[in-house]
């Protein structure tokens, strides 16, 4: 009874193939967008944006990117942190070199630069697969972080190797630097997220996405039916790195405002984003969101409950937080190895039939 599908007929292929075929889902999607764009910006404060929304949106973009590569094209990557660093440092160099250009273009160009770097590091994927590719991308992670630490040109020769985001604006609204209003920071991240999620969804259900999935499911069979593995793999690396690069650029310029390669973009970041898509669901757009929400919001929530509401010592709470989040990950993966997205899919199927089980 939750879903009322009576009378919801599809009369064309276009209707049948839309992203949200169920009317109620479609309505929910538009309501969520309306709330996110029209209501939330008027209510957020610094804490909500800096602790919750900005990291959630940016990690969701990164998770979408990695999901394209790992979930859709089947190429395991442990280099996400390094590619985020490419986006961040590219954005920094562009912001400093061309202060008059709109920051949106800097972020997009940073994504483009990351795509090129990603393709370069993706070349070995033509020869090696699975765990071996994971090790090759791991090498890119370490190489890139080492590079940004080693070559002072990337951080403009500052004493500490830190990069700092100067103040930049979009149509007169400041979006980077300390004087950014909470709503501006929220909206710029949200706009990028919505646009990129829309692109990701349409890429993955089009010809490109089908080629990627063919390569993922069985590369030899895909090649026999005419998929060019070189093109498929390279486009997957390029698209994925573009997303990750945009996430890195936003992470540095809008969210943190200052970053250093080793601390902000280390191997832990690669694992964090990999965990997001594994917990959220490989090969699922919704899964990228769910995984990012789980990994970003859960610790903040637990901390607020344990320290803020229950008054526990901070160290005890921090340790307990690890145990609870770890336990939940294990629990979710036992209950549903295909992630939160699959859990949601099953729930939805039940809800559609409920209360009539047959």
């Amino acid at each position: 009874m939750f879903y009322r599908e009576a009378g919801d007929f599809k009369t064309s292929y276009k209707d049948d193939n839309q992203t949200f075929p169920i009317r109620l889902d479609r309505a929910g999607y538009w309501v969520a967008l309306a709330v996110a764009f029209l209501i939330v910006p008027f209510m957020v404060n610094d804490y909500w944006v800096n602790a919750i929304f900005a990291p959630f949106f940016i990690y969701a973009i990164a998770a979408l990117g990695l999901n394209i590569l790992t979930g859709y094209a089947g190429q395991v990557s442990l280099g996400t942190g390094g590619f985020m660093a490419v986006g961040a440092y590219a954005c920094y160099k562009l912001m400093v070199a061309f202060p008059e250009v709109n920051i949106v273009f800097h972020v997009l160009i940073s994504g483009g630069i990351t795509a090129v770097v990603g393709v370069a590091f993706g070349l070995p994927s033509l020869r090696i697969k699975g765990f071996y590719l994971a090790v090759a991308t791991l090498a890119s992670q370490f190489f890139l972080v080492w590079l940004f630490n080693k070559v002072p040109w990337f951080y403009n020769y500052s004493a500490s190797g830190q990069i700092n985001a100067p103040e930049r604006s979009v149509f007169g609204v400041v979006v980077t630097g300390p004087h950014t209003e909470a709503w501006a920071k929220y909206l710029i991240c949200l706009i990028f997220l919505v646009a990129l999620a829309w692109i990701a969804r349409n890429l993955t259900r089009g010809m490109m996405g089908r080629k990627w999935m063919g390569i993922r499911d069985m590369d030899i069979a895909a090649e026999i039916i005419g998929v060019n593995p070189l093109m498929a793999k390279m486009t997957a690396f390029a698209a994925s790195s573009f997303f990750v690069g945009v996430a890195g650029a936003l992470f540095f310029s809008v969210y943190l405002g200052a970053a250093e390669a080793g601390e902000s973009f280390g191997i832990t970041k690669s694992f964090l984003i990999l965990f997001m898509i594994i917990i959220g669901g490989l090969g699922s757009i919704f899964g990228s969101f769910a995984g990012a929400a789980f990994m970003v919001l859960m610790p903040v929530l637990l901390k607020n409950v344990l320290v803020g509401m229950m008054g526990w010592p901070t160290d005890l709470a921090a340790h307990l937080e690890f145990m609870i989040v770890g336990g939940l990950i294990v629990f979710f993966l036992i209950v549903e190895p295909h992630g939160l997205a699959q859990l949601w899919r099953l729930t939805k199927d039940k809800l559609r039939l409920w209360p009539f089980p047959h």
Binding site: S158, P166, L256, A259
Partner: protein, 428 residues
């Protein structure tokens, strides 16, 4: 979506539970977990215990109680940002995050929010130029003073001539560890020693390859910018390759009891730079034991009282309390705001007489902060470890550092920052 709703409820509850109180609030962005907890715990304990002491013994500062809400950062910049946002609404007067990375993050934010940052012996060194960094204070000494003090000590040992000597900086490969490189490079050119760096990546539990490199290059001296778990590993590795310990000199963050004890007797002779006194022979620690530890109000288990990093936490808390007092005097109100706190820090004067009153005679230098100089005198001494007695002792007086080299570097770095961010000089 349910997560968000519960999060909303809990955050709302948090906001309701802690309204803005008429207290002097000094949030402690501490880290009691993670690879740097070894240093983070005693510092946070010292910081909180001194504030508790003031509350218990003197009834706060100027009759207003002090409050130290703690927030766990694990030395992670993202959590640091979250902690900053979560605590600033409680009326925070000043931040002391004990992390150079988080400090870099907070410098622009705190300046925009009109909240001062106090970063004694860490953070952005060029913040000593108050003309550019209006809200950042790093007195009484900064990294470059420390680097210079270490070089001065080597000069003393070699009769003032370092030509042809080889000095290696073993450092944490992050903002903190890279800070001294420009100064040491400049000092190397000035004194003619051969300077090179060996970075250690986070968290630094594994340093075999670095020490292999050191063994191969046979340096005369190794300077060390490490923190947390990295310190004890380095001291142990130095002992393993039989590097002469008296030629191995750490900065003040690499010279605590927990850094040298794991290596046992082999650590004897290891040196570190210090910007304040060592040991617990100061009356203030008697008071802390009496009013805080024995009363069961200590932040930790009380076992750290008198250790190097704990003392530094006490020292930092003392400076903030004194600055709050100064701010109350300047503005004539007991309940100061963060902007007034900034004025208090900027006009702070620490005299030996005042230090004696506080029960910390000779613990730190006399100095006066000014609008242009937020860095203090920059004096430092060398302390040495003796494993048999289990004690650090100062082996030199607090001496000045080479400001001829440091000042131009501070000016250059701060002016680059000012140019990047369009900052007008604040001092008339």
């Amino acid at each position: 979506m349910t997560y968000k709703r519960v999060a909303a409820a809990s955050v709302a509850a948090l906001m309701v539970a802690s309204p803005v109180m008429a207290d002097l609030v000094f949030p402690s962005l501490s880290y009691r977990t993670g690879p740097f907890a070894a240093g983070g715990i005693p510092y946070a304990d010292g910081f909180a215990d001194y504030m508790t002491l003031l509350n218990e013994r003197d009834g706060g500062v100027g009759g207003v109680k002090l409050q130290v809400p703690e927030c766990e950062t694990a030395y992670n910049t993202e959590k640091g940002v979250e902690c900053y946002e979560a605590t600033k609404g409680q009326g925070a007067l000043a931040y002391n995050p004990l992390s150079t990375g988080i400090t870099y993050q907070l410098i622009p934010k705190a300046t925009a929010d009109d909240i001062p940052l106090y970063t004694p012996g860490y953070g952005r060194t060029s913040a000593a130029n108050g003309n550019v960094f209006s809200h950042v204070f790093n007195f009484p000494a900064n990294y470059w003073n420390g680097a210079s003090a270490a070089v001065n000590h080597i000069l003393d040992l070699n009769g003032g001539d370092l030509k042809g000597k080889k000095v290696i900086l073993l450092h944490f490969n992050g903002a903190y560890g890279k800070e001294p490189i420009p100064t040491l490079t400049a000092l190397g050119e000035k004194h003619g020693f051969d300077f090179s760096t060996v970075p250690v990546d986070y968290p630094g539990q594994e340093q075999k390859s670095q020490w292999l490199q050191i063994r191969r290059e046979k340096p005369d001296y190794v300077l060390f910018w490490g923190w947390g778990v990295m310190n004890q590993v380095a001291v142990q590795e130095a002992a393993n390759i039989r590097f002469p310990m008296e030629n191995f000199i750490g900065v003040w963050w690499s010279g605590a009891e927990h850094d040298v004890k794991p290596a046992g007797d082999a650590a004897t002779g290891y040196k570190a730079v210090a910007f304040h006194g060592v040991g617990n022979d100061y009356p203030v620690f008697g008071d802390i034991n009496k009013y805080v530890v024995e009363a069961g109000k200590a932040a930790g288990d009380g076992s750290n009282v008198g250790t190097v990093i704990y003392n530094r936490g006490v020292y930092a808390a003392m400076m903030l309390a004194e600055a709050a007092k100064k701010a109350q005097e300047i503005h004539g109100v007991a309940d100061i705001t963060s902007g007034q706190m900034r004025d208090g820090l900027e006009q702070l004067e620490i005299t030996n007489a005042r230090m004696a009153e506080l029960g910390m005679e000779g613990f730190g230098p006399e100095f006066k902060v000014s609008c242009a100089n937020h860095g203090g005198p920059g004096t430092a001494a060398i302390q040495q470890w003796d494993a048999a007695s289990g004690k650090w002792s100062l082996i030199s007086d607090f001496g000045p550092s080479d400001m001829d080299v440091i000042q131009p570097l501070i000016t250059a770095d701060s002016e680059a920052y000012a140019a990047e961010n369009n900052i007008e000089p604040q001092c008339k």
